[in-house]
Symmetry: none
Subunit: 175 residues, 2 copies
Amino acid sequence: MEDGMSGFCIKARGGGNGSTGTKCGRWNPTTEQVKVLTDLFRSGLRTPSTDQIQKISTQLSFYGKIESKNVFYWFQNHKARERQKRRRVSIDDKDFIRQDQQEKVSSAKHFAEIHEVSEPERVIETLQLFPLNSYDEPEKLRRHANEYLRDTTAYSYNFGTEMDHPPLDLRLSFL
Amino acid sequence: MEDGMSGFCIKARGGGNGSTGTKCGRWNPTTEQVKVLTDLFRSGLRTPSTDQIQKISTQLSFYGKIESKNVFYWFQNHKARERQKRRRVSIDDKDFIRQDQQEKVSSAKHFAEIHEVSEPERVIETLQLFPLNSYDEPEKLRRHANEYLRDTTAYSYNFGTEMDHPPLDLRLSFL
DNA sequence: TGAGTATGAATGAATG
DNA sequence: CATTCATTCATACTCA
């Protein structure tokens, strides 16, 4: 709210970027910057330490204006959204199944996301080459009960039996 | 960026709305879907929880293809734009901008919309119709973030030296 | 048919 | 870490 304009944005957009908007006021990552960040993320880095953020930022500053906080936020957001996306784009994949009843969403079994993160031999080596193991594998161990507590409300979902369209009256009654 | 195509959209357009071919690439809500969403919004629901989103999405899936994220975005946008509009109109007094140009389809419908949303006490914020579990979140206060936030004045990379761009090979090797 | 607009989608920046 | 706000990008839609 107060910060707002930190940089004046030079936005040189490193190499061949195809981004249009080049306005400023907030960091607008270069394609190269994004690439690097993504690579790092995919290499397993999820929550970089202050030092790492500093280094990354420094390196990336070459491709264009960037601050440490940008890197910090980037990782925060990327991680959060990846997780959030998983939660949102799953349980509702039954497009046109005209199940009048007995739909039974049943437990969501879509965790099986094919994430390439399963490639440890990629660049991770460089990441832990020397003692700055501030980041390890935060996840993997603490991936337990947390979500999926929605069975409690198991509503029937049997509206409309022959339908053409459900009765408009019970519009908001399903919540 | 790479997300882009999430749904393929089959777009059957539930009721008889006069939509055309309706190509897809992005969710195109049915009139019924919009109606329900709008009703929910007007009922006070502004930022549905994940669970609610899920339920809404499921219900709405009857009228046509829809994903949770669509519902999520819908509320996000609707709320944001409402606020945005309001802000424009009220604080615009300082410049005395005449909005006479807005008279497009503003018969009575438009008016009604703006007026009704103005109800001060009607916002329920989350509309909890079911027992939301209580959180026993410890929440450590590790504000280790502030180190690089706000501290934007610290960076002063004099990267105008002479290089043009670092060797692309050492992209990830700097850590 | 193209400008202007409504709105879905994405994401940077915060805050708790 | 999750949740939310603000902006912006992208695209469907409307109308003259």
